[in-house]
């Protein structure tokens, strides 16, 4: 089933495929629209259906809604990228912070052989 995004009756409606977008990415993206829009998300047929309805005092003009739809479409991709990075790097980030505040007890010997190119250590054979 094909879903097309549209602007109708003063509202923006967009669809996001659940196989491409995570719930976290959708919610984080919509958070930033909260200053101007009432946002709503529902799930049907493996698609998130997103609606943006301008807040009464937000001063959003009808002819600007197409631009907001474009912004939403772009932001959804950006927040999905952020979500992918955050989830893929969570373990390294945890390790990094743990090491940073560990006072050195988890430090490891640097990899590789230690060479002596300037002859600093006379006991080390070339």
């Amino acid at each position: 089933m094909k879903h097309s995004n549209f602007v109708k009756d003063g509202e923006v409606t967009a669809f996001a495929d659940t196989s491409l977008f995570s719930k976290d990415a959708i919610l984080k993206c919509l958070y930033w629209f909260g200053d101007k829009f009432h946002t709503n998300v529902s799930l049907a047929d493996n698609f998130f259906q997103i609606t943006l309805k301008p807040l009464a005092n937000a001063n959003v003009k009808e002819d600007e809604l197409d631009l907001y739809l474009q912004k939403l479409e772009r932001d959804l991709i950006d927040f999905q990228l952020r979500d992918t990075i955050a989830k893929e790097t969570q373990n390294v980030r945890d390790l990094l912070v743990a090491k940073a505040f560990s006072n050195g007890e988890f430090d490891e010997e640097p990899q590789g052989n230690i060479s002596d190119p300037v002859g600093f250590n006379p006991n080390l054979n070339a």
Binding site: Y31, D78, I85, V92, K99, A100, F101, P117, A126
Partner: protein, 499 residues
């Protein structure tokens, strides 16, 4: 005879293949965030604040793993070298990376450095933006008592930080100069016993300064921090006093202070008001004219009437940003003409962007600098989390009252439940909206501002004036550096230590 070393037959640097850890064109992401700088470019920032400005679409290519060493050698090399991606699951230099992370957070090691003593609430000015001062001669009621000064000093010397700053504020601090002398003399003795170095600062409008006061400041190495809001028509309008001569007195006091205490021991701060917003260039030029080679373009404080009107706050922030950019343009113009002239807010942010070190600036710290870096001992013995907290208290909001010098111990105030709640709300790594923000390492968290403007310490970023202002200033500074090499060089000169 000098013994010669035998010829070496081994190469100490291996062939490039030796260092190539990549298997099957695979690479792994390291934690980083990105922000669209403009329509053509995006900025990537890693966990320790290193940044790369790259063409639009680069993040997409990195994340979808369509970037390759063969096809994109320059950007690929930059990403590897700057810890954005790694050819191994755990980068070989993770300990170096961790040390850099620790360095960025090293401002936490010392704990509270800045101790503000409100020695008197009395003032001879009636500045329209000031909500705390009193025009009165009632010393008994509005000056800090000796007992509270003693207890404040004892608290300050209990700080784990070996270097503390004792800053005297008002009202007009010099109206209680005898209290300052008492406090400095007592601290000097006790600091030796506690092995602390203490920096003394007096914040003053200089209207009542005398040669004797300044001689004492010189003898005791006390810094003078004054207020200059711009040319006389701005300064006198903002800072009202009988005679309408605040500007003239400040300039006279400035000259005298520089003569006696020394030019490098006297600084000035400006407060931005609605009137100031119309005169960015004139304010910068006034600072230049008065011999300053830096200016701190401080944002309008939200503490006052209607602070919780989000739409008005956004409007004010937009106007401030326009003001800031115009003023920065004028400052850069001085620099293009070969003069050194820096802007302090930009310098704080640029230090975070361009150096491996943290900046102990209360408003741009995470965890928040309130309590962990600065504390206020009010004239009546009440302890507040920051100067802004006491402004809120004047508006009958005591959320950030941490305790009282007479009633609470150091531990209860600095490590108590309320302190923990405030600091916990001021960690931008875990705040909604901030946790994914590319500028997280350059910015901070300000639970007091959030509470004052949005009624909630955690805050709501889409309508936050703090977020709106900082995000745009940081974006703008990076865009300026990227667009003009001369500006990058100027900014680099601002963050270098100056002797």
């Amino acid at each position: 005879m000098i013994e010669t070393r035998p010829d070496r037959t081994t190469r100490k640097f291996k062939e490039i293949d030796f260092y190539d850890k990549q298997e099957t064109n695979q690479y792994f992401l390291l934690p980083f965030r990105f922000h669209r700088l403009n329509n053509q470019k995006e900025v990537l920032v890693n966990e320790v604040g290193d940044h790369l400005v790259v063409p639009d679409g680069t993040t997409h290519a990195i994340v979808t793993k369509t970037l390759s060493k063969e096809n994109n050698p320059d950007i690929y090399g930059d990403l590897i070298a700057n810890f954005f991606i790694s050819e191994e699951v755990i980068p070989p230099l993770i300990d170096v990376f961790a040390t850099r992370y620790r360095t960025k957070k090293s401002f936490l090691e010392g704990f509270t450095a800045l101790h503000l003593f409100v020695v008197s609430l009395r003032c001879e000015h009636t500045c329209h933006y000031c909500q705390v001062s009193r025009v009165t001669t009632d010393k008994g009621k509005f000056d800090m008592s000796r007992e509270h000064i003693n207890k404040g000093i004892d608290f300050m010397l209990k700080s784990p930080n070996p270097h503390v700053t004792m800053e005297f504020q008002g009202g007009e601090a010099l109206l209680a100069f005898e209290n300052i002398v008492y406090a400095v003399e007592r601290t000097k003795e006790l600091a030796l016993l506690h092995n602390k170095t203490v920096t003394y600062v007096i914040c003053t409008n200089l209207a009542v300064v005398t040669e004797e006061i300044l001689e004492y400041c010189k003898a005791n190495d006390i810094l003078i921090s004054t207020s200059l809001d711009g040319p006389n028509y701005i300064h006198n309008e903002n800072r009202r006093r009988p005679g309408k001569n605040s500007y003239e007195l400040t300039i006279q006091g400035l000259e005298l202070s520089r003569q006696i205490v020394g030019r490098d021991r006297v600084s000035a701060l400006m407060t931005t008001t609605t009137l100031s917003l119309e005169h960015p260039v004139e304010i910068v030029e006034e600072y230049y004219k008065q011999g300053f080679r830096n200016i701190f373009l401080r944002p309008i404080s939200p503490y006052g009437f209607a602070v919780r009107n989000e739409r008005k706050n956004k409007y004010e922030t937009d106007k401030f940003l326009t003001f800031y950019k115009k003023a920065l343009d004028r400052i850069l113009e001085y620099n293009f003409n070969g003069e050194y002239f820096s802007e302090d807010y930009a310098t704080i942010i640029l230090k975070k962007i361009l150096t491996p070190f943290p900046v102990g600036y209360v408003d741009l710290s995470s965890p928040t600098g309130s309590i962990t870096n600065a504390i206020v001992f009010n004239y009546d013995g009440v302890v507040y989390a920051s100067g802004e907290s006491r402004m809120l208290a004047e508006m009958k909001d005591y959320t950030f009252k941490l305790g009282h010098l007479d009633e609470n111990s150091y531990e209860e105030i600095f490590y108590g439940e309320k302190a923990q709640q405030i600091v916990e709300s001021g960690i931008n790594e875990s705040l909604v909206g901030c946790s994914d923000c590319a500028f997280q390492t350059y910015c901070g968290a300000d639970p007091i501002h959030n509470h004052a403007t949005q009624g909630d310490m955690l805050g709501y970023r889409p309508t936050s004036s703090f977020c709106h202002k900082n995000m745009e200033i940081i974006r703008y500074l990076i865009e300026l550096m990227d667009s003009d090499k001369r500006i990058k060089e100027i900014f680099e000169s601002w963050v270098k230590p100056r002797s």
